[in-house]
């Protein structure tokens, strides 16, 4: 499942030549750390997906150590919840991007 989401990352990075609008406000709205300097929108999308992947992996690792009894229950629950949040973020972003692409493709030329 995590590999399928990794393809999101590569798809985002392949969106080249789209708007080069500075996207720092978008990044703050999602709650991601501010990228240094003005970056392209595609980089922000890639960061969102990458963040989802890494927090899913962290959630998995926390669940494994939780089952082994090495960390506290609170840790496991928090890791899983933040994995849920970042996955939901990535999915919402992807849906918006896909919807925007479809709307553009529907434009009469």
């Amino acid at each position: 499942m995590i590999d399928a989401i990794s393809t999101l990352t590569s798809q985002f990075r392949s969106i080249r030549g789209t708007s080069e609008v500075s996207s720092t406000t978008a990044a703050t709205a999602i709650g991601m750390p501010q990228p240094v300097g003005a970056t392209s929108f595609s980089d922000v999308l890639a960061d969102v997906a990458q963040n989802a992947v890494s927090s899913l992996k962290a959630g998995e690792a926390a669940a494994i150590t939780g089952v082994q009894g090495k960390t506290s229950v609170q840790n496991v629950v928090e890791a899983i919840m933040s994995a849920e949040q970042s996955l939901q973020t990535a999915v919402a972003v992807r849906d918006k991007v896909v919807a925007a692409y479809q709307e553009i493709s529907r434009m009469a030329i």
């Binding site: 009894g69 090495k70 960390t71 229950v73 609170q74 629950v77 919840m81 849920e84």
Partner: protein, 139 residues
């Protein structure tokens, strides 16, 4: 490294064990409060005592409690004059156990209170863990 709530349960259960051992000793003392010796002039039942000590558990990183030892109280026996008693010596005095039932009853009440306090801690640790796990449920 260790879950503090899990170590709290372990500590409280060591407390339960210690307090129930204490109640056993107290019950033994009360039951034998009038037990004289087996033969004439022999020593009667000696009051038992119990001592706790703190034990540092490295794996849990926490301080458990353990029964260090149970001992005998070396207070003097009470002498009663009862010539008809089979354990009476030549002058008709019987040595009775050095158990004061009022003291033992107070000790038992204390032990009961400590036991229920430890039990309450187990319940609280368990409810805190359940609350945490419950976070994952509804979303």
């Amino acid at each position: 490294m260790i879950d503090p709530l899990k170590s709290a349960s372990a500590i409280a259960s060591s407390g339960l064990e210690a307090q129930s051992m204490r109640m056993r000793i107290v019950a033994e003392n009360i039951a034998n409060a009038r037990s004289v010796g087996p033969s004439a002039g022999a020593d009667p039942y000696t009051r038992k005592t119990i001592y706790f000590s703190q034990v540092m558990d490295r794996t849990l990183g926490s301080n458990l409690v353990k029964v260090k030892n149970t001992g005998l109280d070396n207070a003097a026996f009470q002498i009663e004059h009862d010539p008809g008693n089979p354990a009476a010596d030549a002058s008709g005095n019987v040595k009775m156990p050095n158990v004061n039932v009022a003291v033992e009853m107070a000790d038992m009440r204390e032990a009961g209170r400590s036991y229920s306090a430890n039990l309450q801690m187990i319940k609280q640790a368990r409810s805190m863990v359940a609350m945490t796990i419950d976070l994952l449920r509804s979303s």
